[in-house]
Symmetry: C2
Subunit: 468 residues, 2 copies
Amino acid sequence: MVDDSSSVRIVTALRRWITTAPSGAKLPSTRSLVAEHGASPVTVQKALRTLALQGVVESRPGVGTFVRAVRAARANDYGWQTAALGSPNKRIPQLPAALQSVPNDVVALHSGYPARELLPERLVRAAFTRTARTDALITRPPTAGLPELQSWFAAELESATPAGITPAPPSDVVLIPGSQGGLITAFRALVGAGRPLLMESPTYWGAILAAAQVGVEVVPVHSGPAGPDPDALSRAFDQSGARAFYAQPTFASPTGALWSPGLTEQVLEIVRHHGAFLIEDDSAHDFGITAEPHPVAARDDSGHVVYVRSLSKSVSPAVRVAGLIARGPARNRILADTQAGSMYVSGVLQAVALDVVTQPAWRTYLRKLRLELRTRRDLLVRSLREHAPDARLETVPQGGLNLWARLPDTTDLDRVVRECAAAGVVIGSGDEWFPAEPTGKFVRLNYAGPHSGSFPDVARVLGRSLAG
Amino acid sequence: MVDDSSSVRIVTALRRWITTAPSGAKLPSTRSLVAEHGASPVTVQKALRTLALQGVVESRPGVGTFVRAVRAARANDYGWQTAALGSPNKRIPQLPAALQSVPNDVVALHSGYPARELLPERLVRAAFTRTARTDALITRPPTAGLPELQSWFAAELESATPAGITPAPPSDVVLIPGSQGGLITAFRALVGAGRPLLMESPTYWGAILAAAQVGVEVVPVHSGPAGPDPDALSRAFDQSGARAFYAQPTFASPTGALWSPGLTEQVLEIVRHHGAFLIEDDSAHDFGITAEPHPVAARDDSGHVVYVRSLSKSVSPAVRVAGLIARGPARNRILADTQAGSMYVSGVLQAVALDVVTQPAWRTYLRKLRLELRTRRDLLVRSLREHAPDARLETVPQGGLNLWARLPDTTDLDRVVRECAAAGVVIGSGDEWFPAEPTGKFVRLNYAGPHSGSFPDVARVLGRSLAG
């Protein structure tokens, strides 16, 4: 009987042998290959036939099997691709520091994710174990998403909806494979290549990347610790003719800004006045410390706010699921775009996400997370004030994962990042967070990473580098 | 003690009550709410405070809590979006028949996926159960993918690589969340909006969708049961100035074509001559029936072939994982594009995919699948010949999931699709498979769907409709 996997194994072994054998060398006999691999003669012969078909060996009946003459190894030459590829239309930025992997033994404050010990690992594990017994493993979910998970996202937003506002129904929720895909879809479906998009500056590097990939023309709007200035926003709409504004109103990355209720109403009014969309990225929704999230989308039922909320950061990086809520024709365009892009989101990941967020223990976890984030934030703030007074915080954020510290304008940012890395402290240069030129020297410091006990040391390292 | 989840529950219940209550109505007393919800007075008061903050109720101290006057319900009006959205740049085709969900009791021959009973369910379930115990659940994998899975994709291609060709190393493999994302990435990174891309016609509707989304200019190249005509391909390169050709050389969808070794060499020669890329979609790799797959990418080491192989169809639709192999600068551009688009693929799905395809039982499964596909294909072919002789097969495919049948040119395709649906048989119109005008009336019939025992009935229904 032919054993396919043995045959494949023998082919692989013989190919290895051949790479070191001279051209024309005789292969071991069938009999010795049978003995060596513990396979049947039929299996060995199948392997030899495969090698012959691949042109690696030739068989001379009655004599044996021989290594064929091969072309000499040569260096790769892909020079022809230069002409075929041409110059890239839009320069996609390099992979930002926030996605870099680092060894376990350094103190990493560069990442955009919480440390593993902050994640609801037990809940996620139980959810996967339960889901492994269901049909979600083997079936294809509806293209807009699991109805129960659509309902959950809609109910979450509804719970923050004031009276008089009609909440978005579950059918306005589109499940997407992570918020990055959602931003790209929103930028492409609502704005489009070559057309203007207002963005807070500084803002989330993933959104800058998404804008570059779609090829929208980014119009930066300065945003500080209290959010964007309404007058500047209004002017930017007028001057650019933009029809969309991307922002993180709740614990913005990197500044930590939380929009006041007054600012929320002003921005909504500006957006309505200009017949435009607010693309609200609520990725820090679950990371409130001393404030509750109040999504802007909950205060609008006229289809002006397109809302994206990811679960990857608070549930698990393996659960790449986000919900996008949009209303009216915008929702249809976004659904068509996301279907063309990814067709559907793995039903397993949707089922796991739903399982986790509907457990009673999910609320317990969120409460513990809040305390944990508070402790870490406060320790890093105290450490910086004590040991790195030159790194000034314009605000202590009421939520999120990061401090945004301004360094003296004369700082050589590359040198500081390099010196910290050499001392085992990985920080990200603030420059990556500006869609246009940076307005100063900044670092973003993630207090949700591992090794939080080392924050005083981190601050000492940074302080020494700034003083030096 | 405040119980957050009870408080949320009470808020939700009261909001429901309020929607049916007249404006100004008095809410039940705190005492009766405590009794009704089994919650503490503090929890009930928190719920009432939340409602007050949301503007739904107002509290009159010493008197009670009252429903606030709300705006009258009104119909949604998203008309303003028309101006904001403008005309779409490129019309994205509607969701094709192949992705439609249908009730369980119809015979569905329209889908692009194998029926559940053909999937390795036991293997997938065991892989999820094992993976649920690992760190893949809670950690972020490298952006290019799990190294072991990169190695597996590279080894699969290497096993088909002839002597003298340098196989692609694992580092040339980029893991992507499904082949749809891979096609979009390849079209965007290698071609770009507004530039020409040669495509087989007819071809996979997902690729047509991907081309529309990226906005490439599609140049169709006729492709029959033996694949594309090399002369026509060469002319299309000359006339369009295209630098890339998208094709499915192995069990193409919808035609079932398998390129001969001679055609493979000719196409490679044409592609090289024009300094162009072949974007090879090997999505039917695991569905050989009377032929083995021989990826074109295995015969090229000069970076001309960009290769995409999905596991979603043969492992499980829940395991949205595909491998993309590209070499040289093209690989770098593709990696940057896929990172900007999705950042990384869920580590759980990658770990499950790796677990499934490295089990010895995977090869056993593939052998059983081959027999099963053969039985189904042959039954559908016999049934059509007997009961629907007007549906002519230009070829009996040597692999894949579909028959591609040509109907008489005078057929009213919409009527046939409608009549079959009315009789409980869902088929997809062939028109969806042509990037330009269809060259005839076709239907694609998936023989890997559920209810294969009904194929004779299916053929009778189709035959009656064609005769009618």
